[in-house]
């Protein structure tokens, strides 16, 4: 191939220097900026927590599990939510893999399961929010005491609902985007286009949602 032989350097012109199409590159840059948004949220949370003499113990706040009302089970339900999101990430990467092969039915199958797990996660979060709301927690209301027994400020609930809410909004939009991608696959849009690069871009967004949850899980529930 003459052209490739002439332009041996990536920046020599005639080819994409990053070797990805425009949309995927821009998705990466969007995700980078979104990482800074989430980073700013989590760092402000860390700053306020560091400036507080004491802070509520997450093991005594997030201890409820559906169908086991009144039973003290710290970390159990959030572990379930974390695994649901990991599994949804795996089915998404499998959908991308099928897209590489141009296997329409495979993409449909794995996208479907990704959407199902995304909905399970959203349902779990809705349950947890409802449960906390009934315990008296909301923006501006914090019924939970500090770990040292003193009265806590509302910083704890404000940060919790803002950051998990912002993440939940990302999960919701991710499910909607996955649903659109599923319908487009079903209608043969990508088959006619000759490639499934759109599934890769959708997948990048979905994995990012899982990536953010790693840190939300870490800083709100574990440490």
């Amino acid at each position: 191939m003459a052209q490739a032989a002439v332009n041996t350097k990536w920046w020599g012109g005639g080819k994409s220097p990053f070797n990805v199409e425009y949309g995927k590159l821009m998705m990466w840059y969007f995700l980078m900026s979104d990482a800074f948004t989430f980073g700013a949220f989590l760092i402000s949370y860390g700053t306020v927590r560091m400036s507080s003499a004491s802070w509520p113990d997450p093991n005594h706040v997030f201890n409820a599990v559906p169908f086991f009302s009144g039973v003290h089970m710290p970390l159990v339900f959030v572990s379930f939510m974390t695994f649901v999101l990991i599994v949804s990430s795996v089915t998404m990467v499998l959908a991308v893999n099928e897209g590489h092969k141009g296997n329409k039915q495979g993409v449909i199958k794995y996208l479907f399961w990704t959407i199902v797990f995304g909905l399970i996660f959203l349902g779990s979060q809705a349950w947890e929010w409802t449960h906390l709301y009934h315990e008296g927690a909301w923006w501006g209301h914090n019924p939970f005491p500090n770990a040292d027994g003193t009265v806590a400020t509302t910083n704890f609930t404000n940060f919790f609902f803002t950051i998990t809410g912002f993440h939940g909004f990302h999960v919701f939009s991710g499910v909607v985007i996955n649903l659109i991608a599923l319908l487009m696959t079903q209608n043969g849009v990508f088959e006619r286009r000759g490639h499934y690069l759109m599934i890769e871009k959708v997948g990048l967004y979905w994995h990012f949602v899982d990536l953010v949850w790693v840190f939300v899980f870490l800083f709100f529930y574990l440490v």
């Binding site: 191939m1 052209q3 490739a4 990536w10 005639g14 080819k15 994409s16 220097p17 990053f18 070797n19 990805v20 199409e21 425009y22 590159l25 990466w28 980078m32 990482a35 800074f36 980073g39 760092i43 402000s44 860390g46 700053t47 306020v48 927590r49 560091m50 400036s51 507080s52 003499a53 113990d57 093991n59 710290p74 970390l75 572990s79 974390t82 695994f83 990991i86 990430s89 795996v90 998404m92 990467v93 499998l94 991308v96 893999n97 590489h100 770990a147 490639h195 690069l197 890769e200 997948g203 990048l204 994995h207 990012f208 990536l211 790693v214 840190f215 899980f217 870490l218 574990l222 440490v223």
Partner: protein
């Protein structure tokens, strides 16, 4: 070398999918699950120490540090394998990863600030609270 054209751009296909790509996904899934289980086990350990009373603060800080490092490892696997950033060319990886180095200063500066604020408040807390008294002469003329 086969190449594709998308909207006038010339890009080269990444490595063709083989059975290996599925194996790699399964391997990464297992790694992520095992790391999460270890994190949860450490989390339960910290919880049990708090319940047992008189927990060792340095041990808890150490365990929390380990959990944070494990989470960073998880983030690496998700970005590198699931998002295929590890398969992109170096220049692209660098434009994504290098700006994120800002986070190092971002985190260090803000957490230091938060801690300093706590210490200052503790330092200057009213040790002998002064009672409010009404002055006879007005301050403003």
């Amino acid at each position: 070398m086969e190449h594709h054209t998308f909207g006038g751009e010339v890009t080269f296909p990444h490595a063709a999918p083989t059975d290996d790509s599925k194996k790699r996904i399964i391997k990464t899934t297992i790694i992520l699950s095992v790391i999460t289980i270890i994190e949860l086990a450490l989390g339960f350990w910290i919880y049990k120490m708090h319940e047992g009373g008189s927990p060792s603060h340095s041990l808890i800080m150490f365990l929390k540090g380990i959990i944070i490092i494990l989470s960073l490892a998880k983030a690496f696997y998700i970005v590198s394998i699931f998002m295929h950033l590890g398969d992109e060319i170096r220049n692209l990886i660098m434009t994504i990863v290098v700006p994120l180095i800002l986070f190092v200063w971002f985190i260090a500066a803000f957490l230091y600030e938060g801690n300093s604020w706590k210490n200052l408040r503790h330092e200057y807390r009213p040790k002998d609270p002064v009672k409010f008294e009404k002055t006879e002469t007005p301050v403003h003329h």
